[in-house]
């Protein structure tokens, strides 16, 4: 059974339907890329997984159980979360951002230091950047710090919401490579939201296409590209891949 399962999920904000009757299974230890136009409900979908958004109808199962909304914190500590523009806390240094959760979990100092160092090496962040504040780092470096922070407690599930969106093409390429290296070294269940189909195909194993809150197609990347299930998917892939 998959670690993340959506059963008939609908979400409405007032009169707007953000998601419509979504049934999905996210394959374990693989990267699922969620694509769609802006406003199609990608972020809403992602935030159902860590309980930031409550479904209007349906059940979200994470770690093989329906989410217990009274105990969200325990769940969230096991789910890494990184967003566009890094979401780093400006009053904390790179190191403090990375180790924040571990400090709150009362990790021993040596363990904490070792883990932070390991992660920074993993994403190619020079160790002497540790005392810098976010504004003293480039966009790519901030993004890497954001990834380290999300990985600090070594969560089995990893959620990325346009996490690479604000980077210039070259940095973006580098971060992509690092991401793939990490996944190869220690695969985990990743859900990656992006509006960029190229990025989705490069990083993802599995593809989910949304349009106006409705699921258009879900399946292994090659399969979706080879045989689009709807006219929308065909058009969407073609326009995005041509340019």
């Amino acid at each position: 059974m998959s670690q993340i399962i959506f059963e008939h999920i609908s979400k409405t904000y007032g009169a707007t339907a953000a998601l419509r009757d979504l049934c999905l299974e996210f394959p374990d230890k693989m990267t699922t890329a969620v694509v769609g136009t802006s406003g199609s409900g990608k972020s809403t979908l992602l935030q159902h997984i860590n309980g930031l958004v409550l479904p209007s109808r349906g059940v979200v199962k994470v770690f093989e159980e329906p989410i217990d909304y009274a105990r969200l914190r325990q769940l969230r500590l096991r789910i890494g979360y990184a967003v566009q523009g890094s979401g780093l806390f400006p009053h904390l240094t790179a190191k403090q951002n990375i180790t924040l959760l571990a400090r709150l979990q009362k990790w021993e100092r040596p363990r904490l230091e070792a883990r932070a160092e390991e992660l920074m090496r993993l994403v190619n962040l020079p160790l002497d950047y540790a005392p810098r504040y976010p504004h003293e780092l480039s966009g790519g470096e901030q993004q890497r710090v954001g990834l380290c922070r999300a990985m600090m407690l070594d969560p089995p599930i990893f959620l990325l919401d346009e996490a690479f969106g604000a980077l210039d093409p070259i940095t973006r390429g580098e971060v992509h490579e690092e991401f793939l290296r990490l996944q190869r070294a220690a695969p985990r269940t990743v859900v990656l939201v992006t509006h960029d189909v190229r990025e989705a195909l490069k990083l993802g194993d599995y593809l989910v296409v949304l349009s106006k809150g409705e699921l258009q197609q879900a399946g292994p990347c090659e399969e979706v590209v080879a045989s689009p299930a709807t006219e929308f998917v065909r058009q969407f892939l073609r326009t995005q891949l041509e340019t």
Partner: protein
């Protein structure tokens, strides 16, 4: 639910019971006065007579105005202070004019538990005055004599020109046809000395009347209300004490009071010295008491320390209340409007009224001053705390929740640190406001740099006013500066710049 004020009242009520029997038994008699010349001198005179009869006396002179003194007396924070029949009639009891002392006392006893003892003798009311030589040359002794000289140049203070018990009523009562001009009260004496005007309005016991050699005209139709000064006491003050103070009954004439006022105003005597020679003059024994004014710098230092103490304690108290309240407002957004409006409302209460309001709960002195100051400091801190928390980047809020931080952890590690620069700015504003407002604390006997200001105002002596005003202004600037240093220490620079600070 029990109203919180009840808890404040309970110990106070207990205090009443304990105090009720205790006035004679060793507890000092507390004498108050308002913050003008004559009131200080009369307060001193009562104090010195009591001391001469062996009573222990505590002076709380220079309290701010009728409202404060009246509240302090009612709460038995003071036992006696000099008050005027006219003020009691008009301002306190709001009676029609010309009530007898018996009528006043009946009402006072019934409504407030207070009584007015025997008047000192003089009547400090509006009067008309003109140069002595002119008066004797023309043979003018009473106001009705003015009818014969319609060409005399009259100039009256603007207030006197306006009030119904001023010129309009007077002119009608005496059928005076002269057209007076308006003049600022402070300038009238000089104008009369330079003979650019002949007649002006005065208070009948003004020390200036002596200085400028003016004749005060008799109010032969008894038009002006009577302002007879008398000791004002609460009913807990026992008969022996009342009897001692009543020794002054009828002994102080208008002229004697004028001379005592002039002594302070023109000859630089202290209030205690003026009261002493007044008592000597009227033949009532006075205690030989030495009141040494401490060295200038020492006094200034002590006043500054008190001032800082008031400001700091009030600021700390305000922070302890306003910051949690700001967080509460942020968490329970429904409460935000009512709470912030309430704090804003507090800010608009005039300071004297707020201070007077504190007396029944906290007495006079340092305590009510601190409470009042901290109430003023609430709004800037509360508003900045709430605003800063509300304006934190929603993305950062979402991330901190999504990471799995508890509400408390988010507050402690993310939200408060991010809000800190704005909260600091609020605290700074509150501190600077407090340093300024604390000068008013002298009105309820809390001391501080307001003390020389109050005394200086009473004496109309700007040099004394500046002794308080300059250090207070410097202190405000220093406070601002200290906070800037503190900000640079505590807040990472890039967070300050982001606020454009």
């Amino acid at each position: 639910m029990v109203h919180p004020a009840t808890w404040l009242l309970a110990p106070l009520l207990l205090g009443f019971f304990l105090a009720a029997g205790g006035t004679a038994a060793g507890k000092p008699i507390i004498i108050g006065s308002k913050q003008f010349n004559e009131s200080y001198i009369l307060g001193e005179a009562m104090a010195q007579v009591l001391e001469a009869r062996g009573y222990r006396v505590q002076r709380r002179l220079g309290l701010g105005g009728t409202l404060i003194c009246f509240e302090a007396l009612r709460s038995r924070e003071i036992d006696l202070y000099p008050e005027y029949t006219g003020t009691i009639e008009q301002a306190i009891l709001k009676l029609p004019r010309h009530a007898t002392r018996e009528t006043l006392n009946d009402k006072l006893r019934e409504a407030y538990g207070l009584r007015l003892l025997r008047p000192f003798g003089f009547n400090n009311t509006y009067a008309l005055a003109l140069p002595e030589d002119l008066a004797s040359r023309l043979g003018i002794a009473a106001i009705s004599d003015l009818m014969r000289f319609p060409n005399l140049r009259m100039a009256f203070s603007h207030e006197f020109m306006e009030r119904q018990d001023g010129w309009p009523g007077l002119a009608a009562a005496y059928r005076l046809a002269t057209k007076p001009t308006g003049i600022q009260h402070g300038l009238a004496y000089q104008a009369i000395q330079e003979r650019t005007i002949d007649v002006t309005d005065v208070y009948s016991t003004d020390g200036d009347i002596e200085k400028y050699r003016l004749a005060v005209l008799r109010d032969d139709k008894e038009f002006f209300p009577q302002y007879l000064a008398a000791p004002f006491a609460h009913l807990g003050v026992d008969e022996q004490v009342a009897a001692v103070v009543n020794e002054l009954q009828g002994k102080i004439s208008d002229a004697a009071m004028r001379r005592a006022n002039a002594q302070v105003l023109l000859k630089g005597a202290t209030f205690a010295e003026a009261a002493g020679s007044l008592l000597r003059e009227i033949g009532v024994a006075q205690a030989t008491r030495e009141r040494r004014d401490g060295a200038f710098w020492l006094t200034l230092l002590l006043q500054t320390v008190t001032h800082l103490k008031l400001t700091l304690i009030a600021l700390l108290a305000a922070m302890l209340v306003a910051m949690p309240l700001g967080v509460l407002v942020y968490r329970l957004q429904r409460l935000s409007r009512p709470i912030i409006y309430a704090a804003g409302l507090l800010q608009t209460i005039p300071s004297i009224a707020l201070l007077a309001f504190m007396i029944p709960f906290f007495g006079i002195g340092v305590k009510p001053a601190i409470v009042a100051l901290s109430l003023y400091a609430l709004l800037p801190i509360l508003r900045n705390t709430a605003t800063a928390l509300f304006s934190i980047d929603p993305l950062l809020k979402r991330v901190s929740i999504g990471m799995g931080m508890t509400t408390w952890q988010r507050l402690r590690h993310i939200e408060l640190p991010l809000a800190a620069p704005t909260i600091m700015a609020g605290i700074k504003t509150a501190a600077v406001i407090n340093v300024g407002t604390a000068t008013l604390a002298a009105f309820i006997g809390a001391g501080g740099l307001g003390e020389p200001i109050v005394t200086g105002l009473a004496l109309n002596d700007s040099a004394i006013i500046l002794r308080g005003a300059i250090p207070a202004a410097l202190l405000a600037v220093l406070t601002e500066f200290a906070f800037e240093v503190l900000e640079r220490r505590l807040v990472p620079r890039h967070l300050l710049q982001r606020l454009g600070a």
